[in-house]
Protein backbone atom coordinates (compact mmCIF):
# COMPACT_ATOMS: atom_id res chain seq x y z
CA UNK A 1 0.00 0.00 0.00
CA UNK A 2 1.36 3.39 -0.94
CA UNK A 3 0.38 6.71 0.57
CA UNK A 4 -0.19 10.18 -0.87
CA UNK A 5 -0.30 12.84 1.83
CA UNK A 6 -1.87 16.20 0.95
CA UNK A 7 -1.10 19.08 3.30
CA UNK A 8 -3.88 21.68 3.11
CA UNK A 9 -7.53 21.38 2.05
CA UNK A 10 -7.95 24.77 0.42
CA UNK A 11 -8.71 25.21 -3.28
CA UNK A 12 -5.69 23.30 -4.62
CA UNK A 13 -5.60 20.51 -2.01
CA UNK A 14 -9.35 19.79 -2.16
CA UNK A 15 -9.36 19.67 -5.96
CA UNK A 16 -6.34 17.37 -6.07
CA UNK A 17 -7.89 14.86 -3.69
CA UNK A 18 -11.27 14.90 -5.44
CA UNK A 19 -9.65 14.36 -8.84
CA UNK A 20 -7.08 11.76 -7.80
CA UNK A 21 -9.14 9.55 -5.48
CA UNK A 22 -11.24 8.00 -8.29
CA UNK A 23 -8.11 7.54 -10.43
CA UNK A 24 -5.98 5.72 -7.85
CA UNK A 25 -6.99 2.12 -6.95
CA UNK A 26 -8.17 1.94 -3.31
CA UNK A 27 -6.17 -1.25 -2.70
CA UNK A 28 -2.94 0.40 -3.92
CA UNK A 29 -3.09 4.00 -2.74
CA UNK A 30 -4.12 5.56 0.55
CA UNK A 31 -4.76 9.32 0.44
CA UNK A 32 -4.52 11.26 3.70
CA UNK A 33 -5.28 14.96 4.13
CA UNK A 34 -3.88 17.18 6.88
CA UNK A 35 -5.81 20.43 7.41
CA UNK A 36 -6.12 22.16 10.78
CA UNK A 37 -9.19 24.23 9.86
CA UNK A 38 -12.60 22.51 10.26
CA UNK A 39 -14.05 25.04 7.78
CA UNK A 40 -13.22 25.83 4.16
CA UNK A 41 -13.36 29.55 3.39
CA UNK A 42 -14.44 30.86 -0.03
CA UNK A 43 -11.65 33.44 -0.17
CA UNK A 44 -12.87 35.43 -3.22
CA UNK A 45 -15.91 36.40 -1.15
CA UNK A 46 -13.84 38.30 1.44
CA UNK A 47 -13.62 41.32 -0.88
CA UNK A 48 -17.39 41.84 -0.62
CA UNK A 49 -17.79 41.38 3.15
CA UNK A 50 -16.75 44.96 4.11
CA UNK A 51 -19.55 46.28 1.89
CA UNK A 52 -22.18 44.02 3.43
CA UNK A 53 -22.78 41.86 0.37
CA UNK A 54 -21.90 38.52 1.97
CA UNK A 55 -22.36 37.15 5.47
CA UNK A 56 -19.69 34.90 6.96
CA UNK A 57 -22.08 31.94 6.84
CA UNK A 58 -22.27 32.24 3.04
CA UNK A 59 -18.50 31.85 2.69
CA UNK A 60 -17.82 28.91 5.02
CA UNK A 61 -18.47 25.19 4.64
CA UNK A 62 -17.25 22.28 6.78
CA UNK A 63 -14.01 20.85 5.36
CA UNK A 64 -14.71 17.11 5.70
CA UNK A 65 -17.81 16.84 3.42
CA UNK A 66 -15.89 18.58 0.62
CA UNK A 67 -13.50 15.61 0.49
CA UNK A 68 -14.33 12.23 -1.04
CA UNK A 69 -15.53 9.36 1.16
CA UNK A 70 -12.72 7.19 2.47
CA UNK A 71 -10.16 9.99 2.68
CA UNK A 72 -9.10 10.53 6.30
CA UNK A 73 -8.81 14.16 7.41
CA UNK A 74 -6.33 14.93 10.17
CA UNK A 75 -7.22 18.30 11.72
CA UNK A 76 -3.79 19.23 13.02
CA UNK A 77 -0.97 21.65 12.32
CA UNK A 78 2.16 20.35 10.61
CA UNK A 79 5.34 20.73 12.65
CA UNK A 80 7.82 19.88 9.90
CA UNK A 81 8.58 17.62 6.96
CA UNK A 82 11.58 15.32 7.02
CA UNK A 83 12.25 15.07 3.30
CA UNK A 84 15.14 12.64 3.85
CA UNK A 85 12.94 10.13 5.67
CA UNK A 86 9.66 10.89 3.79
CA UNK A 87 7.91 11.79 7.03
CA UNK A 88 5.42 14.48 8.02
CA UNK A 89 5.66 15.34 11.69
CA UNK A 90 2.48 16.78 13.23
CA UNK A 91 2.18 19.26 16.10
CA UNK A 92 1.13 16.41 18.42
CA UNK A 93 4.38 14.58 17.66
CA UNK A 94 2.67 11.91 15.55
CA UNK A 95 4.44 11.14 12.26
CA UNK A 96 2.96 10.09 8.91
CA UNK A 97 5.03 8.34 6.28
CA UNK A 98 4.42 9.34 2.65
CA UNK A 99 5.42 7.94 -0.71
CA UNK A 100 4.29 11.15 -2.43
CA UNK A 101 3.63 14.50 -0.76
CA UNK A 102 1.70 17.57 -1.90
CA UNK A 103 2.15 20.85 -0.04
CA UNK A 104 -0.94 23.02 -0.62
CA UNK A 105 -1.00 25.09 2.55
CA UNK A 106 -1.40 28.43 0.82
CA UNK A 107 -0.11 31.83 1.83
CA UNK A 108 -1.39 33.97 4.68
CA UNK A 109 -1.50 37.63 5.73
CA UNK A 110 1.13 38.37 8.36
CA UNK A 111 0.28 41.56 10.22
CA UNK A 112 3.13 40.88 12.63
CA UNK A 113 5.72 41.52 9.90
CA UNK A 114 5.12 45.29 9.81
CA UNK A 115 5.71 47.35 12.96
CA UNK A 116 2.47 48.98 14.11
CA UNK A 117 0.12 46.99 11.88
CA UNK A 118 -1.11 44.57 14.54
CA UNK A 119 -0.92 47.17 17.30
CA UNK A 120 -3.62 48.96 19.30
CA UNK A 121 -4.96 50.76 16.21
CA UNK A 122 -5.95 47.55 14.43
CA UNK A 123 -9.72 47.50 14.11
CA UNK A 124 -9.87 51.23 14.78
CA UNK A 125 -7.94 53.33 12.24
CA UNK A 126 -6.05 50.35 10.74
CA UNK A 127 -7.95 47.55 8.95
CA UNK A 128 -7.45 44.60 6.60
CA UNK A 129 -9.87 42.38 4.66
CA UNK A 130 -7.77 39.26 3.92
CA UNK A 131 -9.20 37.41 6.94
CA UNK A 132 -12.85 36.89 7.81
CA UNK A 133 -12.60 38.63 11.22
CA UNK A 134 -10.72 41.51 9.55
CA UNK A 135 -13.29 41.86 6.76
CA UNK A 136 -16.15 41.82 9.30
CA UNK A 137 -14.47 44.42 11.52
CA UNK A 138 -14.06 46.64 8.45
CA UNK A 139 -17.75 46.27 7.59
CA UNK A 140 -18.67 47.52 11.06
CA UNK A 141 -16.24 50.42 10.68
CA UNK A 142 -17.57 51.44 7.26
CA UNK A 143 -21.19 51.32 8.44
CA UNK A 144 -20.57 54.36 10.65
CA UNK A 145 -17.64 56.08 8.94
CA UNK A 146 -18.53 59.54 7.65
CA UNK A 147 -15.49 60.53 5.61
CA UNK A 148 -11.87 61.62 5.77
CA UNK A 149 -8.58 60.44 4.31
CA UNK A 150 -9.01 56.83 3.13
CA UNK A 151 -5.85 54.95 2.15
CA UNK A 152 -5.83 51.53 0.45
CA UNK A 153 -2.39 49.98 0.72
CA UNK A 154 -0.32 46.94 -0.27
CA UNK A 155 2.67 46.22 1.95
CA UNK A 156 4.72 43.97 -0.29
CA UNK A 157 4.34 41.67 -3.30
CA UNK A 158 3.63 38.85 -3.93
CA UNK A 159 0.16 38.73 -2.35
CA UNK A 160 -2.66 36.33 -3.12
CA UNK A 161 -5.19 37.79 -5.53
CA UNK A 162 -3.00 40.78 -6.51
CA UNK A 163 -5.98 42.57 -8.11
CA UNK A 164 -8.01 42.49 -4.87
CA UNK A 165 -6.59 45.76 -3.45
CA UNK A 166 -7.57 47.59 -6.66
CA UNK A 167 -11.01 45.96 -6.64
CA UNK A 168 -11.39 47.01 -3.03
CA UNK A 169 -10.56 50.63 -3.95
CA UNK A 170 -13.08 50.61 -6.83
CA UNK A 171 -15.81 49.08 -4.66
CA UNK A 172 -15.07 51.53 -1.83
CA UNK A 173 -15.43 54.45 -4.28
CA UNK A 174 -18.80 53.03 -5.36
CA UNK A 175 -19.82 52.40 -1.73
CA UNK A 176 -19.03 55.99 -0.69
CA UNK A 177 -20.96 57.33 -3.70
CA UNK A 178 -24.00 55.27 -2.76
CA UNK A 179 -23.74 56.48 0.83
CA UNK A 180 -23.58 60.02 -0.57
CA UNK A 181 -20.31 60.83 1.22
CA UNK A 182 -17.83 60.48 -1.67
CA UNK A 183 -17.18 64.25 -1.66
CA UNK A 184 -16.04 63.95 1.95
CA UNK A 185 -13.58 61.12 1.25
CA UNK A 186 -10.06 61.65 -0.07
CA UNK A 187 -8.92 58.36 -1.61
CA UNK A 188 -5.31 57.22 -2.01
CA UNK A 189 -3.91 53.95 -3.36
CA UNK A 190 -0.39 53.30 -2.02
CA UNK A 191 1.69 50.49 -3.51
CA UNK A 192 5.32 49.35 -3.58
CA UNK A 193 4.96 48.96 -7.38
CA UNK A 194 5.74 51.74 -9.83
CA UNK A 195 2.18 51.64 -11.21
CA UNK A 196 -1.32 50.39 -10.38
CA UNK A 197 -0.55 46.77 -11.27
CA UNK A 198 2.31 44.46 -12.14
CA UNK A 199 1.94 44.12 -15.92
CA UNK A 200 2.30 47.17 -18.22
CA UNK A 201 -0.91 47.14 -20.30
CA UNK A 202 -3.18 46.19 -17.39
CA UNK A 203 -1.30 48.63 -15.16
CA UNK A 204 -2.04 51.49 -17.55
CA UNK A 205 -5.74 50.56 -17.88
CA UNK A 206 -6.21 50.08 -14.13
CA UNK A 207 -4.24 53.27 -13.45
CA UNK A 208 -6.66 55.17 -15.70
CA UNK A 209 -9.54 53.68 -13.72
CA UNK A 210 -8.05 55.03 -10.49
CA UNK A 211 -7.68 58.46 -12.15
CA UNK A 212 -11.26 58.65 -13.40
CA UNK A 213 -12.51 57.81 -9.89
CA UNK A 214 -10.38 60.49 -8.29
CA UNK A 215 -8.21 57.96 -6.44
CA UNK A 216 -4.63 59.22 -6.20
CA UNK A 217 -1.86 56.68 -6.88
CA UNK A 218 1.11 56.76 -4.51
CA UNK A 219 3.67 54.49 -6.25
CA UNK A 220 7.01 53.07 -5.03
CA UNK A 221 5.85 53.23 -1.42
CA UNK A 222 7.55 50.62 0.80
CA UNK A 223 6.14 50.88 4.30
CA UNK A 224 8.50 50.69 7.28
CA UNK A 225 5.99 51.28 10.07
CA UNK A 226 2.39 52.23 10.77
CA UNK A 227 1.33 54.75 13.40
CA UNK A 228 -2.17 55.63 14.57
CA UNK A 229 -2.80 58.11 11.76
CA UNK A 230 0.13 57.76 9.32
CA UNK A 231 2.28 55.30 7.40
CA UNK A 232 6.02 55.96 7.10
CA UNK A 233 8.12 54.49 4.29
CA UNK A 234 11.75 53.34 4.37
CA UNK A 235 12.69 56.55 2.56
CA UNK A 236 10.84 58.71 5.11
CA UNK A 237 7.75 59.50 3.06
CA UNK A 238 4.68 59.95 5.23
CA UNK A 239 1.10 59.15 4.20
CA UNK A 240 -1.41 60.40 6.77
CA UNK A 241 -4.77 58.64 7.00
CA UNK A 242 -8.01 58.65 8.92
CA UNK A 243 -8.76 55.10 7.84
CA UNK A 244 -6.15 52.68 6.46
CA UNK A 245 -7.07 49.45 4.69
CA UNK A 246 -3.84 47.55 4.24
CA UNK A 247 -2.91 44.23 2.69
CA UNK A 248 -0.24 42.70 4.95
CA UNK A 249 2.85 40.77 3.83
CA UNK A 250 1.72 37.31 2.65
CA UNK A 251 3.79 34.34 3.78
CA UNK A 252 3.61 30.59 3.41
CA UNK A 253 3.34 28.23 6.38
CA UNK A 254 6.09 28.28 9.01
CA UNK A 255 6.65 24.52 8.72
CA UNK A 256 7.87 25.14 5.16
CA UNK A 257 10.74 27.21 6.57
CA UNK A 258 11.38 24.68 9.36
CA UNK A 259 11.63 21.95 6.72
CA UNK A 260 14.19 23.88 4.65
CA UNK A 261 11.88 24.05 1.62
CA UNK A 262 11.00 27.74 1.51
CA UNK A 263 12.24 31.00 0.06
CA UNK A 264 12.42 34.05 2.35
CA UNK A 265 8.59 34.25 2.36
CA UNK A 266 8.19 30.51 3.09
CA UNK A 267 6.91 29.78 -0.40
CA UNK A 268 8.16 26.47 -1.78
CA UNK A 269 10.62 26.72 -4.66
CA UNK A 270 9.32 24.43 -7.40
CA UNK A 271 9.76 23.68 -11.08
CA UNK A 272 7.15 26.12 -12.53
CA UNK A 273 6.11 23.61 -15.19
CA UNK A 274 5.58 20.46 -13.08
CA UNK A 275 5.51 21.68 -9.41
CA UNK A 276 8.20 19.30 -8.10
CA UNK A 277 10.00 20.92 -5.18
CA UNK A 278 13.60 21.78 -5.99
CA UNK A 279 15.86 18.79 -5.52
CA UNK A 280 13.00 16.41 -4.71
CA UNK A 281 11.50 13.46 -6.57
CA UNK A 282 8.35 13.02 -4.47
CA UNK A 283 7.44 16.40 -2.94
CA UNK A 284 5.17 18.75 -4.91
CA UNK A 285 3.81 22.19 -4.02
CA UNK A 286 0.70 23.66 -5.65
CA UNK A 287 -1.48 26.72 -5.33
CA UNK A 288 -0.42 29.76 -3.32
CA UNK A 289 2.11 27.68 -1.34
CA UNK A 290 4.36 27.44 -4.39
CA UNK A 291 6.81 30.18 -5.44
CA UNK A 292 5.58 30.41 -9.05
CA UNK A 293 6.31 33.44 -11.26
CA UNK A 294 2.58 34.12 -11.71
CA UNK A 295 -0.29 35.54 -9.63
CA UNK A 296 -1.32 33.66 -6.51
CA UNK A 297 -4.96 32.98 -7.33
CA UNK A 298 -7.59 30.26 -7.26
CA UNK A 299 -7.73 30.20 -11.05
CA UNK A 300 -4.01 29.42 -11.22
CA UNK A 301 -4.54 26.61 -8.68
CA UNK A 302 -7.39 25.27 -10.81
CA UNK A 303 -5.45 25.20 -14.08
CA UNK A 304 -2.33 23.92 -12.30
CA UNK A 305 -4.21 21.02 -10.67
CA UNK A 306 -5.47 19.82 -14.07
CA UNK A 307 -1.88 19.61 -15.30
CA UNK A 308 -0.63 18.12 -12.03
CA UNK A 309 -3.18 15.28 -11.91
CA UNK A 310 -2.23 13.95 -15.34
CA UNK A 311 1.47 14.35 -14.57
CA UNK A 312 1.09 12.62 -11.22
CA UNK A 313 -0.30 9.47 -12.85
CA UNK A 314 2.73 9.44 -15.18
CA UNK A 315 5.07 10.09 -12.28
CA UNK A 316 3.91 7.21 -10.05
CA UNK A 317 3.95 4.86 -13.05
CA UNK A 318 7.61 5.74 -13.60
CA UNK A 319 6.97 7.63 -16.84
CA UNK A 320 8.26 11.13 -17.58
CA UNK A 321 5.63 13.76 -16.76
CA UNK A 322 3.93 14.54 -20.07
CA UNK A 323 2.42 17.96 -19.46
CA UNK A 324 3.95 21.36 -18.80
CA UNK A 325 2.07 24.14 -16.97
CA UNK A 326 1.94 27.47 -18.85
CA UNK A 327 1.13 29.66 -15.83
CA UNK A 328 -2.47 30.29 -16.94
CA UNK A 329 -4.34 32.80 -14.74
CA UNK A 330 -7.86 34.14 -15.26
CA UNK A 331 -9.23 36.77 -12.88
CA UNK A 332 -12.35 38.89 -12.66
CA UNK A 333 -11.66 42.43 -11.45
CA UNK A 334 -14.66 44.13 -9.81
CA UNK A 335 -14.79 47.79 -10.78
CA UNK A 336 -17.88 48.98 -8.89
CA UNK A 337 -21.37 49.99 -10.08
CA UNK A 338 -22.18 46.39 -11.02
CA UNK A 339 -19.38 45.99 -13.52
CA UNK A 340 -16.14 44.07 -13.74
CA UNK A 341 -13.14 43.45 -15.99
CA UNK A 342 -11.63 40.10 -16.87
CA UNK A 343 -7.91 39.42 -17.29
CA UNK A 344 -6.45 36.26 -18.82
CA UNK A 345 -2.69 35.69 -18.93
CA UNK A 346 0.20 33.28 -18.28
CA UNK A 347 3.97 33.14 -17.70
CA UNK A 348 4.69 34.53 -21.18
CA UNK A 349 1.68 36.69 -22.11
CA UNK A 350 0.60 39.69 -20.06
CA UNK A 351 -3.14 40.56 -19.74
CA UNK A 352 -4.35 41.93 -23.10
CA UNK A 353 -7.61 43.53 -24.25
CA UNK A 354 -10.10 41.49 -26.32
CA UNK A 355 -12.88 38.97 -25.71
CA UNK A 356 -13.08 35.65 -23.84
CA UNK A 357 -13.28 32.76 -24.40
CA UNK A 358 -14.25 33.27 -28.06
CA UNK A 359 -12.99 35.94 -30.47
CA UNK A 360 -15.40 38.89 -31.05
CA UNK A 361 -18.53 37.27 -29.50
CA UNK A 362 -16.91 36.66 -26.11
CA UNK A 363 -19.26 36.90 -24.26
CA UNK A 364 -16.80 38.22 -21.65
CA UNK A 365 -14.70 41.32 -22.32
CA UNK A 366 -10.98 41.36 -21.51
CA UNK A 367 -9.65 44.48 -19.77
CA UNK A 368 -13.07 46.13 -20.32
CA UNK A 369 -15.64 47.06 -17.69
CA UNK A 370 -18.85 45.19 -18.48
CA UNK A 371 -21.98 44.06 -16.66
CA UNK A 372 -21.63 40.46 -17.84
CA UNK A 373 -18.12 40.18 -16.35
CA UNK A 374 -19.62 41.18 -12.99
CA UNK A 375 -22.36 38.56 -13.33
CA UNK A 376 -19.64 36.04 -14.18
CA UNK A 377 -17.82 36.90 -10.98
CA UNK A 378 -20.95 36.46 -8.85
CA UNK A 379 -21.86 33.20 -10.64
CA UNK A 380 -18.49 31.80 -9.70
CA UNK A 381 -19.38 31.20 -6.03
CA UNK A 382 -21.83 28.30 -6.64
CA UNK A 383 -19.54 27.03 -9.41
CA UNK A 384 -16.70 26.95 -6.87
CA UNK A 385 -18.59 24.78 -4.37
CA UNK A 386 -20.45 22.53 -6.80
CA UNK A 387 -18.08 22.13 -9.74
CA UNK A 388 -14.55 23.34 -9.06
CA UNK A 389 -13.84 21.80 -5.63
CA UNK A 390 -15.46 18.43 -6.48
CA UNK A 391 -13.13 18.30 -9.49
CA UNK A 392 -15.71 18.51 -12.28
CA UNK A 393 -14.44 19.84 -15.58
CA UNK A 394 -15.34 23.50 -16.26
CA UNK A 395 -16.16 24.57 -19.81
CA UNK A 396 -13.04 26.71 -20.19
CA UNK A 397 -9.75 25.76 -21.85
CA UNK A 398 -7.00 24.72 -19.45
CA UNK A 399 -4.08 26.26 -21.32
CA UNK A 400 -4.22 29.99 -22.08
CA UNK A 401 -5.37 30.71 -25.62
CA UNK A 402 -4.50 33.73 -27.78
CA UNK A 403 -7.94 33.51 -29.46
CA UNK A 404 -9.82 36.79 -28.92
CA UNK A 405 -6.81 38.68 -27.61
CA UNK A 406 -5.68 41.91 -29.24
CA UNK A 407 -1.90 41.81 -29.52
CA UNK A 408 -0.36 45.27 -29.38
CA UNK A 409 1.69 46.33 -32.40
CA UNK A 410 4.48 48.59 -31.08
CA UNK A 411 5.92 48.81 -27.63
CA UNK A 412 3.30 49.39 -24.94
CA UNK A 413 3.41 52.66 -23.04
CA UNK A 414 5.16 51.87 -19.80
CA UNK A 415 4.82 53.88 -16.64
CA UNK A 416 8.19 52.82 -15.36
CA UNK A 417 10.50 53.52 -18.32
CA UNK A 418 12.66 55.80 -16.28
CA UNK A 419 14.47 53.93 -13.60
Amino acid sequence: MKRLVVLGAGTAGTMIVNKLRPMLPMQEWDITVVEPSPFHLYQPGLLFVPFGRYEASELLRPTQPLLPAGVPLITEEVERIDVGEDLVELASGQTIHYDQLVIATGTHPRLDMTPGMAGPHLGDTVHEFYTLPGAEALRQKLEHWDGGRFVVHVTEFPIKCPVAPLEFAFLADDFFKRADIRDRVEMIFATPLSGAFTKPIASERLGDMLDTRGIRLEPDFSVERIDERAMVSYDERVIPFDLLVTVPVNMGAEFVARSGLGDELNHVRVDPHNFLAEGSGNVFALGDAAALPISKAGSVAHFAVDVFVENFLDHIAGRPMGRSFDGHANCFVESGAGKALLIDFNYETEPLPGTYPLPVVGPLGLLKETRINHLGKLAFRPIYWHMLLPGRRLPVPNAMSMAGKEVPTGQPEREDVTI
Binding site: F157, S194, D235, P293, V417, I419
Partner: protein, 104 residues
Protein backbone atom coordinates in the same frame (compact mmCIF):
# COMPACT_ATOMS: atom_id res chain seq x y z
CA UNK B 1 16.14 44.41 -27.65
CA UNK B 2 18.60 47.07 -28.63
CA UNK B 3 22.34 47.49 -28.56
CA UNK B 4 23.91 50.33 -26.62
CA UNK B 5 27.52 51.36 -26.87
CA UNK B 6 29.12 51.82 -23.47
CA UNK B 7 32.82 52.03 -22.75
CA UNK B 8 33.51 51.45 -26.44
CA UNK B 9 31.75 48.09 -26.66
CA UNK B 10 28.34 46.81 -27.64
CA UNK B 11 26.02 46.03 -24.73
CA UNK B 12 22.65 44.33 -25.27
CA UNK B 13 19.84 46.01 -23.33
CA UNK B 14 16.02 45.84 -23.16
CA UNK B 15 13.57 48.69 -23.79
CA UNK B 16 14.20 50.11 -20.33
CA UNK B 17 17.99 49.85 -20.49
CA UNK B 18 18.46 46.71 -18.36
CA UNK B 19 21.24 44.41 -19.60
CA UNK B 20 19.84 41.30 -21.27
CA UNK B 21 23.07 39.31 -20.92
CA UNK B 22 24.56 39.48 -17.41
CA UNK B 23 27.83 38.11 -18.85
CA UNK B 24 28.42 41.41 -20.69
CA UNK B 25 28.71 43.13 -17.30
CA UNK B 26 31.92 43.92 -15.47
CA UNK B 27 32.77 46.21 -12.59
CA UNK B 28 33.86 49.12 -14.75
CA UNK B 29 30.58 48.95 -16.66
CA UNK B 30 28.76 49.12 -13.31
CA UNK B 31 30.34 52.51 -12.66
CA UNK B 32 29.11 53.76 -16.04
CA UNK B 33 25.59 52.40 -15.46
CA UNK B 34 25.53 53.99 -12.01
CA UNK B 35 26.55 57.35 -13.46
CA UNK B 36 23.66 57.04 -15.96
CA UNK B 37 21.19 57.12 -13.07
CA UNK B 38 23.08 59.63 -10.93
CA UNK B 39 24.72 57.30 -8.42
CA UNK B 40 28.34 57.33 -7.24
CA UNK B 41 29.32 53.84 -6.21
CA UNK B 42 30.57 53.36 -2.65
CA UNK B 43 31.65 50.22 -0.80
CA UNK B 44 28.03 49.86 0.41
CA UNK B 45 26.83 49.73 -3.20
CA UNK B 46 29.47 47.19 -4.10
CA UNK B 47 28.59 44.76 -1.35
CA UNK B 48 24.91 44.90 -2.42
CA UNK B 49 25.86 44.46 -6.09
CA UNK B 50 28.21 41.56 -5.38
CA UNK B 51 25.61 39.70 -3.35
CA UNK B 52 22.96 40.29 -6.04
CA UNK B 53 25.29 38.99 -8.77
CA UNK B 54 26.22 35.84 -6.85
CA UNK B 55 22.59 35.23 -5.82
CA UNK B 56 21.46 35.60 -9.42
CA UNK B 57 24.16 33.16 -10.54
CA UNK B 58 22.91 30.63 -7.96
CA UNK B 59 19.12 31.06 -8.33
CA UNK B 60 18.56 32.63 -11.74
CA UNK B 61 16.48 35.46 -10.25
CA UNK B 62 17.26 39.04 -9.31
CA UNK B 63 16.89 39.17 -5.52
CA UNK B 64 13.94 41.07 -4.05
CA UNK B 65 14.41 43.72 -1.34
CA UNK B 66 13.31 41.14 1.23
CA UNK B 67 15.90 38.67 -0.02
CA UNK B 68 18.58 41.38 0.00
CA UNK B 69 17.73 41.97 3.67
CA UNK B 70 17.37 38.37 4.86
CA UNK B 71 19.91 36.51 2.71
CA UNK B 72 22.19 39.36 1.61
CA UNK B 73 22.43 41.21 4.92
CA UNK B 74 21.56 44.60 3.41
CA UNK B 75 18.62 46.09 5.36
CA UNK B 76 15.83 47.63 3.28
CA UNK B 77 16.46 51.01 4.89
CA UNK B 78 20.03 50.90 3.61
CA UNK B 79 18.91 49.81 0.13
CA UNK B 80 16.74 52.94 -0.06
CA UNK B 81 19.71 55.07 1.04
CA UNK B 82 22.02 53.48 -1.56
CA UNK B 83 19.57 53.39 -4.46
CA UNK B 84 16.97 56.10 -3.77
CA UNK B 85 13.25 55.77 -4.62
CA UNK B 86 13.40 52.46 -6.56
CA UNK B 87 16.14 50.39 -4.93
CA UNK B 88 15.35 46.95 -6.38
CA UNK B 89 15.20 48.28 -9.93
CA UNK B 90 18.20 50.59 -9.66
CA UNK B 91 20.35 47.90 -8.09
CA UNK B 92 19.39 45.43 -10.84
CA UNK B 93 20.22 48.05 -13.48
CA UNK B 94 23.66 48.78 -12.07
CA UNK B 95 24.40 45.10 -11.40
CA UNK B 96 23.56 44.19 -15.01
CA UNK B 97 20.71 41.89 -13.95
CA UNK B 98 17.13 41.59 -15.29
CA UNK B 99 14.47 43.84 -13.78
CA UNK B 100 13.18 42.11 -10.64
CA UNK B 101 9.98 40.13 -11.19
CA UNK B 102 9.08 39.73 -7.51
CA UNK B 103 5.74 41.31 -8.37
CA UNK B 104 3.38 39.00 -10.20
Amino acid sequence: MTVATMEGRDIHVDAEGFLTDPMEWDESLAATLATNIGIDLTEGHWSAIRFARSDYAANGETPTLRRMATAGGVPTKEMFALFPKKPAKKMAYVAGLPKPVGCV
